[in-house]
Symmetry: C2
Amino acid sequence: MKTAITPTRAENFSEWYQNLITAADLAENAPVRGCMTIKPYGWAIWELMRDEMDKRIKAQGVQNAQFPLLIPINFFNKEAEHVAGFAKEAAVVTHYRLKAIDGVLQPDPDSKLTEPYIIRPTSETIIGDAMSRWVQSYRDLPLKLNQWVNVMRWEMRPRLFLRTSEFYWQEGHNAFATHEEANADARRMHKMYGDYMREVLAIPSIMGEKTPEERFAGADHTYTLEHIMQDGKALQAGTSHDLGQHFSKSFGIQYLGTDGQLKHAWTTSWGVSTRMMGSLFMTHSDDDGLVLPPAVAPYQVVIIPITRDENVEILNAYSEKLGEQLRAAGVRVLVDTSDMRAPDKMWKWIKRGVPLRVEIGAREMEENTVTITRRDLGKASKRTISDAELLRDVKDILNQMQHDMYDAVVERNKTMIHEIADLAALESALAEGKVGFFRIKNEQTQNSEFEGLMEKYKISRRCLDDNNPEYVYVAKSY
Amino acid sequence: MKTAITPTRAENFSEWYQNLITAADLAENAPVRGCMTIKPYGWAIWELMRDEMDKRIKAQGVQNAQFPLLIPINFFNKEAEHVAGFAKEAAVVTHYRLKAIDGVLQPDPDSKLTEPYIIRPTSETIIGDAMSRWVQSYRDLPLKLNQWVNVMRWEMRPRLFLRTSEFYWQEGHNAFATHEEANADARRMHKMYGDYMREVLAIPSIMGEKTPEERFAGADHTYTLEHIMQDGKALQAGTSHDLGQHFSKSFGIQYLGTDGQLKHAWTTSWGVSTRMMGSLFMTHSDDDGLVLPPAVAPYQVVIIPITRDENVEILNAYSEKLGEQLRAAGVRVLVDTSDMRAPDKMWKWIKRGVPLRVEIGAREMEENTVTITRRDLGKASKRTISDAELLRDVKDILNQMQHDMYDAVVERNKTMIHEIADLAALESALAEGKVGFFRIKNEQTQNSEFEGLMEKYKISRRCLDDNNPEYVYVAKSY
């Protein structure tokens, strides 16, 4: 069977992904090392994802603010683990002026900064510094801040959305009077992310704590959301950190308690990024292109008039009118009246993953019916219903699709999680090419033999099992 | 009379502005040269401004996208006027890794980039490069793109919101098949900005074309919006550029026309930034603090329970209930049940410019009345009305305020625009300390005598008079 994307997932998952991004017109490699340009269709998806996340963040009592892009090196240097974790991928600003020297434009030597800046890879330090001024008394706590920004971590082997030098994210930074509150906050935001992944992106998350080896640089506890891709690899889709007093001590975030004593606050940070889009695309898409959950589809419905020359304008007008009625019902609709051939239009919107395709031909127009097809189910779901039914049911159809997409991934994931008794079993599973998440007692992994397997099969500890932290999930990852 | 902000505007406008920003908790200087941190209350205002602008931009058929932060120097170098305009304020990234050398963290010499990058001061070049790939045929035109991003222009004398090294903006970049369409687009976006300033920010704009000396680096025509501040100085609040074929020729943005010929496109760019916030604050605020137009006020109404100890909880609950009813009517409401003293609460929200203050004391609660005060009119507008009237009229009251604020600025501006016959008259006006916009025949300014006045009084040509381009507006500016 011919597919819109070649190679197929089964043939070459990695190339399939690359071609999917192109076919759906989501993004391209920028002419800047490791960076991407997100094209309008890709960015429209991100705006929907972002706006819904922003609403949920604000519902937690968090306020948005904006902190500078640049961080003085000495700030960055204040927390030892943190600097060790990020120094090797930091973009450094050393000059503030260009000058043509011998006809070549270059950094003006006279503009050299006495102290260079780095472009933020994350903002714990610069926000820690602000918090040290903004937090004075117990009355100022909790302080809950978030920002939506670009960050930069120099990447040598970039992949669109999954790993790029510049990416876009929200980073939340909260401060509390006690460790209990801070830890509860890190867990609450972790749960908030899990709910979002399920309800909005239709993706189930493996949720748990990172082992010490995999923690964020400067955290006491890191809680992660791991998604299982169709090729069995893990994708870390978000993290929430209990930072203890690392940053409050480095930056002097202190408050006067009710008892009149000066104490260090306890902080958390939590973030999700455009990487989530990589998960969204790799989780749901098929060999014909993107499949978008209705909640984040820029167009939830595309109406395609199947025109014959003699009545193209009438049919277009009829389709536009139906589109308007659907919009009035709160649905995002595109009526494709462009002058492409009908099959080309269909494939265009199949590749872009529009949840519901509505076709109207001359006969349908006469009979006041439409032919609808769900993107996730394809031809099997194709049926003809009346305009009235479409208007009445469209939201239910989209809701059903949103839920079905989630359920389908849950089912698939069941085949991707393997109970493993010991390292011998793990090795033989890996050797025979088994893919997915391997659940094994963590104590089994505390030895050099496991280190060897990590090296050989490029696996890593993804997280502890939240239900039973004696167990750890192990997988290859993006 | 004691004022909440000292000094007053009349005493020292510049210090007043600085203290206003602090008193209203809008922003602070960041620990990064020339940069600011926008605090939650300031950012909440920006989000309202941004979301409304974004809606209007999309209504013009423009699509949002996202282009990289960094620009290769050679891109930047392709348009001669452009590079000359921005090279002197470009932040340069020269390394991609840090290393501790002799215990000091610094750029790793082994990570030096063969070609440095600059942090975008604006994105005509990187978007021009993308357009050269995205535009192939006349069918791809017009192409209308926008992005909301941070940009950087190194500032030696920064002022919060008015002039900072890093700032936030939208930059639109459109491409067309003909010069006519491009010029009409630049003018249409210019008008769109003018409507926005009037309807949303309640600010009248002096709108017109920049003289050649003041054009954007790389534009054929620059259309500007100039606002008159309370001290008579001009603030450039937005610009729209007809870029001719400067960038399409530098970057090879070419399309195959209907006639089968390959032609260069015509492009425009247009932007407004967080600088608009500076205008908003300096246009409307008074000696007691911020005055916000309801359209961009994070809280349009603040309810302050004037508590007596014995019934504080009942009164708070009563106030919360009223707040809920107002929210259900679509109004943004804060009910301030914090444990500050009532007068402190009042002054806090006066300083932050909340449009409508609603006070409820024990007697008001008994009588189901409230005492309301409009921020722009102060005590003179204080009156007691029934809860029912408040709920019925609140939107009208806010709308009226929005309009009255605009009208008040229009009236004030009339006293700030001066018809000037010749340079002698201009000099004597300036010498006697007259402030505002001076309207003079442009031909009068084409000589060294005017250059001398520009130097001496730090004035500049703001723009030509749109109604009669023989005349030019001259003013001091921010």
